[in-house]
């Protein structure tokens, strides 16, 4: 697919957000805040950064994407549908019996998913295994491995085992994102289990660390370009995001971590997204 302009990418992110609201409302359960917060990163990855072929999910030369915090999968489904992996109609089947869009991602159900996740803390290891294979076993420097982790899941020991492993092996084709939205189920990350000094932690594990505004499309694209240029270390991009981004009554509210909007709330949310920044985006883009 041809590259989109930054304005078009922003519009894509907005479309993805609208899809998220619509599919979650239809599902009647699921996570709202995290997926909305990740929409800009997903738009940038799937429509600009990653070398992928949605019509050929197993394309041998593709970049691979691992979602570690599987509960955020609505944003991945919405993005994949926007990118053409499957028809957008299918988004309405999220979490329903017989759907390929399971509540948490299952690789075997849906072509284009690289892993199965949900239980937190294992995605970075899976991505590291893949990156190790590219760098040392296949000796193919042209492919990259992207992984998104939540910040809450950094409580898991498994993450730091992987951080040590990737650091030791200088997995330079591994590019990780931490979705730094500061919330987890029981409250803010710094109340539940403090993560700071987060930058210092990753650096001490041998990683190149970048910190960006996770809603700034240019910053996201720039950071991944920088990460690909680093050849002696893995890179982690700490992306500061607003949970519930784009929907006024969800923003910054950790109570929206694990619940979907009802019909009325969905209407209000879609209204927010439709009139974002006071300008009307193209109508009829949502499901």
């Amino acid at each position: 697919m041809g590259k989109l302009t930054v304005t078009q990418l922003k519009q894509k992110a907005n479309d993805i957000r609208r899809d998220i609201i619509t599919m979650l409302e239809a599902a009647g359960s699921g996570h709202s805040a995290g997926p909305l917060g990740l929409a800009d990163i997903f738009a940038a990855l799937y429509f600009d950064v990653m070398n992928i072929r949605p019509e050929e999910p197993e394309w041998a030369d593709r970049d691979v994407f691992f979602l570690s915090n599987g509960h955020c999968v609505p944003v991945q489904y919405a993005t994949m549908a926007e990118a053409g992996y499957f028809d957008k109609e299918e988004l309405k089947t999220l979490r329903k019996f017989g759907s390929r869009l399971q509540g948490h991602p299952e690789r075997e159900k849906l072509p284009g998913l690289e892993n199965t996740s949900g239980p937190l803390g294992s995605g970075l290891s899976q991505a590291s295994g893949y990156a190790y294979s590219l760098q040392y076993l296949d000796e193919n420097p042209h492919r990259f491995v992207y992984v998104i982790m939540g910040d809450g899941e950094l409580d898991e020991g498994n993450i730091w085992e992987a951080a040590m492993f990737a650091g030791k092996n200088k997995l330079s084709q591994l590019i990780a994102f931490v979705d730094r939205n500061n919330i987890q189920i029981d409250g803010t990350t710094e109340d539940v289990m403090p993560l700071e000094d987060l930058k210092g932690k990753w650096e001490s594990f041998g990683w190149h660390v970048l910190e960006i505004d996770g809603h700034n499309i240019e910053s996201i694209i720039d950071a991944t370009s920088q990460a690909r240029a680093i050849t002696n270390r893995p890179t982690v991009i700490i992306a500061h995001t607003i949970p519930g981004k784009g929907v006024d009554f969800m923003e910054y509210n950790y109570k929206w971590h694990g619940i979907p909007p009802n019909a009325e709330q969905a209407k209000e949310a879609l209204e927010d997204l439709r009139t974002l920044g006071g300008k009307i985006t193209h109508e009829g883009a949502g499901v």
């Binding site: 690789r107 892993n115 290891s125 295994g129 893949y130 590219l134 076993l137 040590m164 492993f165």
Partner: protein, 330 residues
């Protein structure tokens, strides 16, 4: 076909070798056959016998350090990249510590991650209960997609390792630490999902897995002297179970005893019981560790204490035959 038994099986001169040594040899050969075979270890490379592979294929050996969760999840990523990853540690740690990671990233994700758990059973000896893994069969066989194999000796472990490199499925290979008598031969068959009748008999079926098959053979020999003709069936694959062979033997003898160097609950004996209860309900005697942990001691001493050697098995089998009427088909 008659299963070729080691001619020395009933002799004190029977060759012995740790089952894990067969794994080490098999892995190296698997590496020669297929360049996608890679090996990952959690700081126990020589102990789990991965050093043979490491020396032969240093580039395809990955040291993970003491991090069993990372061990299997990195393997899952390698499998996604087209590799056939064998992971090894002590069974108490892998799958003991990382079961959820195995469940999600190997079995639900359906990737051919090979979990090799060494030092299973009480025969680990002096290290004591923490290191004597007894629950691994139970926790691994309940996982959908998972293949579970407990080879009976080192020759079979070598064959099983080669077979697992080719089966394309998440799999668990259970190994023992101590030198174990070799009852099979180089020519003995091994196929995933197959059980083998080692000795034919009519009075009782003795089903053994892993290290226990050798002890059942000895028990059968001793029982023969007492006029009891036992059939001994070796069941190296606990999942998928060779239902056909087990059913045929159970039908013939009408009495079934299972033996494993693991918890008597939830493991191999339970698998057999679950199967027979639906097709041919009959009393089944499950021999194993009875709802307790192991403890320190010499391997042989512990095997005797827990009633798992040939001599100690005999009275248990005799009592079962005495108490339980032979099952008669309606």
């Amino acid at each position: 076909m008659t299963y070729p038994l080691n001619p020395l099986v009933y002799s004190k001169e029977v060759e012995v070798e740790p089952i894990r040594a067969g794994f080490g040899r098999g892995l190296k050969i698997a590496g020669e056959h297929n360049e996608n075979v890679v090996a990952l270890c959690a700081d126990l490379t020589e102990s789990t016998q991965m050093h043979l592979f490491k020396e032969a294929f240093p580039k395809r050996f990955i040291e993970i350090g003491i991090a069993e969760q990372n061990l299997v999840t990195v393997a899952s990523g390698l499998a996604r990249a087209g590799k056939i990853p064998f992971t090894s540690s002590y069974a108490a740690f892998s799958p003991g510590r990382n079961w959820e990671q195995i469940r999600t990233t190997a079995t639900l994700n359906n990737q051919p991650v090979k979990v090799v758990g060494s030092h299973a059973g009480v025969s680990v000896g002096p290290d004591g209960a923490t290191h004597q893994m007894l629950e691994d069969i139970a926790i691994m066989r309940v996982l959908p997609n998972m293949v579970v194999i407990a080879p009976g000796d080192s020759l079979e472990a070598e064959k099983a390792t080669l077979a697992l490199a080719e089966n394309g499925k998440p799999s668990y290979l259970r190994l023992a630490r101590e030198k174990t008598p070799i009852f099979s031969t180089k020519e003995s068959p091994f196929e995933i999902g197959k059980a083998y009748v080692l000795k034919e008999g009519e009075d009782v079926t003795l089903l053994g897995t892993g290290t226990m098959t050798y002890h059942l053979l000895n028990a059968a020999k001793l029982l023969e002297e007492k006029g009891v003709n036992a059939e001994v069936v070796h069941v190296p694959t606990i999942k998928p179970l060779d239902e056909k062979t087990i059913l045929a033997s159970a039908r013939k003898t009408g009495r079934v005893v299972t033996a494993e160097e693991a918890q008597a609950a939830g493991g191999f004996g339970s698998a057999v019981t679950e199967f027979l209860s639906t097709v041919l309900p009959m009393p089944v005697k499950r021999i194993g560790i009875e709802d307790r942990f192991g403890e320190s001691g010499a391997p042989n001493e512990l095997m005797e204490y827990f009633g798992l050697t040939g001599e100690k098995l005999v009275p248990q089998i005799e009592a079962f035959i005495e108490e339980m009427p032979r099952y008669h088909q309606a």
